[in-house]
Symmetry: C2
Subunit: 461 residues, 2 copies
Amino acid sequence: MSTVTRSLTADLRRLFPAGQVLDSVEDRTLYAYDGTSIKALPELVVMVRGVGEVSTLLRFASDHEVPVVPRGAGTGLSGGSVPAEGGIALVLAGMRSIKEIDAGSMVAVVEPGVITGVFQKTVEDAGMFYPPDPASLNYCTLGGNVAENAGGPHGVKYGVTKDYVLGLEVALPSGDVVRLGGKQIKNVTGYNLVQLFVGSEGTLGVITEITLRLLPKPPAKKTMLAIFDRLDDAATAVAGIMGGGVIPATLEIMDQRSINCVEDYLKLGLPRDAEAILLIEVDGMPAAVEAEAEVIDRICREKGVRSFQVAKNKQEEDSLWKARRSISPAISAARPSKIGEDISVPRSAIPAMVREIQRIAKEFDLPIVIFGHAGDGNLHPNILTDRRDHKEMERVEQAIAAIFEASVRLGGTLSGEHGIGLSKRPYFDLAVTPATVKLMADIKRAVDPKNILNPGKIWRA
Amino acid sequence: MSTVTRSLTADLRRLFPAGQVLDSVEDRTLYAYDGTSIKALPELVVMVRGVGEVSTLLRFASDHEVPVVPRGAGTGLSGGSVPAEGGIALVLAGMRSIKEIDAGSMVAVVEPGVITGVFQKTVEDAGMFYPPDPASLNYCTLGGNVAENAGGPHGVKYGVTKDYVLGLEVALPSGDVVRLGGKQIKNVTGYNLVQLFVGSEGTLGVITEITLRLLPKPPAKKTMLAIFDRLDDAATAVAGIMGGGVIPATLEIMDQRSINCVEDYLKLGLPRDAEAILLIEVDGMPAAVEAEAEVIDRICREKGVRSFQVAKNKQEEDSLWKARRSISPAISAARPSKIGEDISVPRSAIPAMVREIQRIAKEFDLPIVIFGHAGDGNLHPNILTDRRDHKEMERVEQAIAAIFEASVRLGGTLSGEHGIGLSKRPYFDLAVTPATVKLMADIKRAVDPKNILNPGKIWRA
């Protein structure tokens, strides 16, 4: 279905500076992808440099009922920024100004195209801390993080992107621009529309400015690696650590197959027979960090840890992180394709969920690697497969459905930090009742009556 | 305007068990108030015992286009639960079951009528911690806290009610019941509707069940009181503490007039010439608490503190809290009426805001006491007045408008934790542009097309 005629393209070219409206196949191909393997060509690509241009584009698109799919760096993992129904790919990556870092109030104001890692570094240089740390932080943009409510290992102690968004400037589908929230930490002045837009996957508005809360930089940090013979012992240790009054900055888990996958890839000397590794970090005041590390050490020993290492310096810290950081490349090296999922269960359901996934792996005869954020119950089962093998892919689809069903059965949901987008849309009804889908659709219709913004995502229309 | 006819009342009586539908003037008078001085009689009072009854009532009210105003304990401070346009007062205070405390996943499931303080105590007995601590916690309900997004002194470190709401069961105006979110800490499965309902002041749905996140109980705590000759030094100390990597559990400020008001009332021996008192608490691991208290001590001394006391035991702790806890009774004793406001500014704007309020007090010749949550910029200027003095009340209205204007000018807003309700509705446009009001109204219309839920609140229709 073509919506962007040649005459509309010409009209748009008159509205924008030269070089910002692109229609060659090469240019469109560059914006047909995200971090999944899903692709769909946009009919047109428009690069924008400020809120005025975004508003102009949306007003134009509304008038002509052309779909607009906003995108940052395209690192998303659910097809959210893939222009599934054609239309215009709206590229915000060029809006990359860090407008303000206000140390007195500990807030920052940024444009959506700022790279997350660049922002973190800038904030750190100013003596502060921005915790959200998606794995793609060296490439992804803050606007994309907000649109998808990105998480990361820091989630257990520090929460995710939504917990840092105090204010937003949003261009609505009509082209109207609203400013929501602000620099205030506490704000109950009307509906919390900031959080309606956070995680709305580009379907309600285009984020043109973000006000983010910052924290003081924790003066000290300690990194620990605990290897467990048995998965259950690792899970009990997680519960014991949290119950013991310690909230680690990071509490990551790797299952036996992750360990073996990394070992195949790097030969780090990890024990192939261990059922679980926990990577734990604590941060804060130096004395607090010492005390918390001792509690964690004691609890891990009580729960029968096989080996417990504490990094003594930055080099040892990097070495302990090496296994965790190598999972993705190790998986990619193991088989031609990987399909990474992102279920989120109540913390106490982690061992049951891991066992369900292992059962599903056996049932469908597929290697599934499990790692993720044990502290907050967000697991990433990764299916190692080969997309060219259509017979195997059928089993993969069945395994994915089985994983989602198990997650929901254990009180969990489909996505902790990647979003629904296109890839999880077929399973949305597993987690959300028709009354809730109707409520979301009613709100979508109220905000975007012509359905021009990122149509076809999250639920089936 | 009467909406509840005698025949509708009779119909409702048939739908509910005996004694739950009340229409005597006495019964209606009991539900005409909240914590402000605003009152409006409901035409009918309906007590509910479960989600089924709430759904039945809403379906009935929708069919007959009767306003429904949900209420918990009626301790709100913005007129939010006052039935301004008549209709039915829906009393949820009877739904007070703590359904589940899940220590393994650190979540609790409660009915909306559970008293906040009772819940906190129950959670604490189970070795955990629920931080939100509005001043009314011994009376107010968790449902009311969610509807208004209540805060409290713990906000600076632990956030406010919204930061603990993981899931909601909500009865929509149509009578349909939706379950949003759940026990998962991380969840990006569709729009964040949980946070749309949190703080929506009973205008979008009736909360019938809440899933709350709990934290480990901090094993240690330390309370400190710092008296400053100069307000600016206190403010610099606040910035220094946060910048020094310490996030206190509580960081309260009292201005000179608060100090004098408390001193008039209790004769605690507070220095009447001091411009500010900070009440500071840190909590966490014992060693962390020690280290953080030392940092705070050092920073306060660097900033020229006049006196710095650290509580050595529970008794001394209570004694340090005494001044802060006595502000409200002291104010009430000082003059016949008090009007408490709730502005929220960026943290660094606190000294400028305090000075603006002091200027406004002088300009309108009104005693205004200022205290609040210095750590998060949420201040409570309280105007001491006499509501019977109509001439003075005109000056009070002008002073309130001037305070809101100053707050917005300094990058702040109208309410940090009380909500807009009726009392701040006339000023809503100061903080929110027409495009944003339209967006809120569009969403309200999508969710509540007949405008039956708490009509007339937040913005002028």
